[in-house]
């Protein structure tokens, strides 16, 4: 199974950087996310997670390092967490870490809302 690596590009900072590694199961999303075609960007990531669960079936670690995401992106992040929750319920081992700036109080609310919506435990990690 192939990895997904998308580097952050200075000219289009509305796309986050992506590093989904099929060998160690570590998936990282970093930067900002407010692109126009949100579904088009996130759909391959959702497909990758589903494929990893089906074909590899080993533990997964998600490291969210998003400093900003718009509400459209939040809908697709929710889908990602829903897939994670389903995998956990079926016995899959997944840990979710969210690195956040403690000077951004709104981000903690966002993460709590994701936890309430999905019942996925999200570990809060200060990065600044």
């Amino acid at each position: 199974m192939e990895n997904i690596v998308i580097k952050e590009v200075q000219d289009s900072p509305y796309y986050p950087s992506i590093d989904f590694n099929a060998e160690n199961g570590v998936c990282e999303i970093a930067g900002e996310s407010y692109m126009e075609e949100t579904f088009k960007f996130y759909s391959p990531l959702l497909d990758w997670i589903n494929k990893y669960i089906k074909e590899v079936g080993r533990p997964l670690t998600f490291n969210f390092k998003l400093t900003y995401f718009n509400t459209n992106s939040s809908r697709l992040i929710l889908d990602m967490l829903d897939i994670i929750k389903k995998y956990q319920d079926e016995g899959g081992r997944v840990s979710v870490n969210w690195y956040y700036d403690p000077e951004d109080p709104d981000m903690v609310d966002e993460i709590q809302d994701f936890e309430l919506e999905t019942n996925v435990k999200i570990n809060l990690i200060k990065f600044k």
Binding site: S12, M35, Y68, N70, R75, D104, D106, D109
Partner: protein
Amino acid sequence: MNISSYQKEKVLSFHGPLTINLLSFIGNYLKSVVNTDQVLSSRLYKIFIELTQNVSYYSAEVKEVERGIKSGVGWFLLNEYDEYFIFTTGNLIKKEDGFKLTRNCTEINSLDEEDLRRLKRKTRGEAKIRDIGAHIGLIQTGLLSGNLLDFRISEINNKHSYFTISVRLNK
């Protein structure tokens, strides 16, 4: 198309097609130009992106900015006062969308913070994957602002109305 910037009062204004590259450029400019604390600057940036993207996606006036790429046309204005910022956007809408927008904004204005967060979770959970709609963007704007959404819908003709929304962000 016009961009203007001043030290006081009117910080920034623009009228034209709101493309993603333009919003990204001005949004990042806003982060650096607004001389205030980090939380306020961050909230202003988030409100800027949500409201201008609503114009970009849902304006009834659309312009082709590159071959095959269209973008919604509208305007935004950021004013700074001693105690707060006011951010306003305006755009043409289909007349039939006016009722829904009025209903959504009125609902948002009637709720406190906890109920708004509950509405946001419910709206997001029920939204179709491909199109979350403008509603959750307005809920998020209400949450970030902590103030009422000041909106106005004016009838233009049988097909179109004009939608303006102003949000106050206290310093």
